[in-house]
């Protein structure tokens, strides 16, 4: 059997394809929620609260999903949560994620407007996490992408978030 040289898709020539992008388009040119990511850079976990009806939505938005008002303000959410239960993917993690991929169901406590959330747990070796463990927000860089601005190309730096054990585990 002859082995052909694999050249990928010639027309694409290594181009960035937003349709194949794992991460959000975070910059203000493409996303009215860009402040969420700006706040992440400051170590803050935030969402939008309606100034009309007081409803707190997650994810944040540009209108309130309860009363459809567009008068919203950014508020801080707890950056610590407790692990209700979790699962560790050791083989078959999606492209872009290393094993173990730990996904946890987090409890943000009675006083938090967002009670439960699924999140990824990082900086934690396989087999070390326990139900009831406390975790905290962690923010990290994810790959930048280009934006065409007339004849120039601007680079959009990006961050994303996950949670990590409060007590360092070896």
């Amino acid at each position: 059997m002859q082995t052909a040289r694999i050249e990928g898709t010639p027309a694409l020539d290594g181009k960035y394809i937003s349709e194949m992008d794992l991460w959000p388009l975070e910059c203000k040119e493409f996303n009215r929620l860009y402040k969420f990511y700006d706040y992440l850079r400051e170590g803050r976990f935030t969402t939008t609260r309606c100034q009309k009806c007081g409803n707190v939505a997650f994810p944040p938005g540009v209108i309130c999903p309860k009363c459809w008002s567009d008068e919203l303000e950014w508020i801080d959410l707890p950056t610590r949560a407790t692990v209700t239960t979790f699962t560790e993917t050791v083989t078959g993690a999606p492209l872009g994620f290393d094993a173990p991929l730990i996904l946890a169901w987090l409890d943000f406590g009675k006083d938090s407007p967002v009670k439960q959330l699924l999140a990824r747990i990082v900086n934690c070796p396989e087999g070390k996490l326990k139900e009831g463990d406390e975790v905290k927000l962690v923010v990290f860089d994810v790959p930048a992408h280009p934006i065409e601005v007339k004849k120039e190309t601007k680079v959009c730096e990006r961050v994303y978030y996950a949670f990590e054990p409060v007590e360092k585990v070896a």
Partner: protein, 396 residues
């Protein structure tokens, strides 16, 4: 003027599996099988076309899918022609809409057809696409793509709260594989399964192991829904009426989960209540059901929320044999998703075909005297629930 009744005549499926075929080949195969099931039906009898696929745009570069099928199936739709995308509930969504189109008089004969071509030349791309069917910027960017991790969380919670065991979950895999071993179109036909095999399988996402999970599958299905008058022209078989439907969606991502914990699915309970009310039946009237066994734990929770057993007792219920062919209400008699496989948009119509056969007395694993049947899909990370109830009699 009396209300028109919507009748489902029957339909057909392509062979399900890892297929050496294009998505349009699969759609054509299902149409052929549908035509074989309803010999009097001509392509030009069909005035409405609902095409159900989530992956067609991404995996087969076919974004505006419905007109492609008009060409490939020789149809001339005059009342409706569109694609629907509700992931796993695709063709049950089509069946709900077809009922409305028929009852309102907008359409007379509607084809609901679904297909997915999941497998691509490189396997990574399939798993990568799965990241795009959840809430991309939020849950997916956490790594929530392929479903097993999410349903593993659900299983752990159900085990913790209600004492459900891996052995009880294995009863679902064994039952569904054994039903599917008689269905030549099932992905895993003619494989049977023993309890020992189920319990000793390799782990996928603890506590779920290989046979707890339905596979990803290429495949297509097609059904025909018509007004009662047109149905009588097209078939001599007993008529099967679409009695009632319900579709409930409450959230797109984990933050909006409606239950007290992951083990409670109040949105399914609500969808079932709506469908029962419209169909004027209750859970005790259901003789046979095809429900969404994407994982064994899903079937267990669905049996509870559909009212077939008490909340929390799904595990002992399946272990008692209540889903088997000799029980009062057999479940997933064609093999369900676990054995048939799950080409998302095609699964609802595949369920409908089995239930029509059951109500017409021509199923392979026939439930004696079945009069009322129920189909259920969930889609996404248990984000949306869809219930359709069929009967030999129309709602009075």
């Amino acid at each position: 003027m009396a209300k028109k009744n919507a009748v489902i005549l029957g339909g057909g499926v392509s062979k399900f599996g890892v297929r050496e075929a294009h998505i349009l080949d699969l759609f054509q195969e299902a149409a052929k099988a549908c035509s074989d099931d309803i010999p009097a039906l001509k392509p030009t009898d069909i005035d409405g076309l609902l095409v159900c696929s989530t992956m067609a745009g991404r995996h087969s570069s076919a974004l505006n899918t419905a007109p492609l099928l008009v060409q490939r199936l020789g149809l001339r739709p005059t009342s409706i022609c569109t694609r629907l995308d509700t992931l796993c509930a695709g063709s049950n969504t089509g069946i709900i809409l077809a009922k409305g189109l028929i009852e309102s008089g907008i359409s007379d004969v509607v084809m609901v057809t679904g297909a997915e071509k999941i497998f691509l030349p490189q396997r990574w791309e399939t798993n990568y696409t799965q990241l795009m069917v959840n809430d991309h910027d939020w849950d997916s960017a956490m790594g929530l793509g392929v479903p097993p991790p999410f349903f593993a969380l659900i299983a752990k919670m159900h085990m913790k709260r209600y004492g459900t065991t891996r052995e009880q979950m294995a009863h679902v895999s064994v039952a569904n594989y054994n039903y599917g071993s008689t269905n030549p179109n099932a992905h895993f036909y003619p494989r049977k399964l023993t309890m020992d095999e189920a319990l000793s399988a390799r782990p996928i996402a603890e506590p779920l192991s290989l046979f707890d999970c339905c596979p990803l599958t290429d495949g297509a299905s097609a059904v025909i829904i018509a007004s009662e008058d047109r149905a009588r022209d097209l078939t001599d078989r007993p008529l099967v009426y679409i009695r009632g439907t319900g579709q409930v969606a409450t959230h797109s991502m984990s933050a909006g989960w409606p239950g007290e914990t992951l083990a409670e699915w109040p949105h399914l309970k609500k969808a079932a209540e709506t469908a029962y009310k419209n169909a004027q039946v209750g859970p005790e009237d259901i003789d046979v059901a095809n429900i969404h066994d994407c994982f064994t734990i899903s079937e267990i929770i669905e049996l509870e929320e559909l009212g077939f057993c008490n909340k929390g007792e799904g595990g002992p219920y399946v272990a008692s044999g209540a889903i088997n062919i000799d029980a009062k209400r057999p479940i997933n008699t064609d093999g369900g998703l676990i054995s048939c496989g799950h080409p998302f948009g095609a699964s609802g119509a595949r369920q409908a075909i089995e239930l029509v056969k059951q109500l017409q007395g021509r199923a392979t694993n026939q439930v004696k005297g079945a009069k009322v049947a129920l189909a259920h899909n969930l889609s996404g990370p248990s984000a949306q629930h869809t219930v359709v109830i069929y009967g030999r009699e129309p709602v009075k």
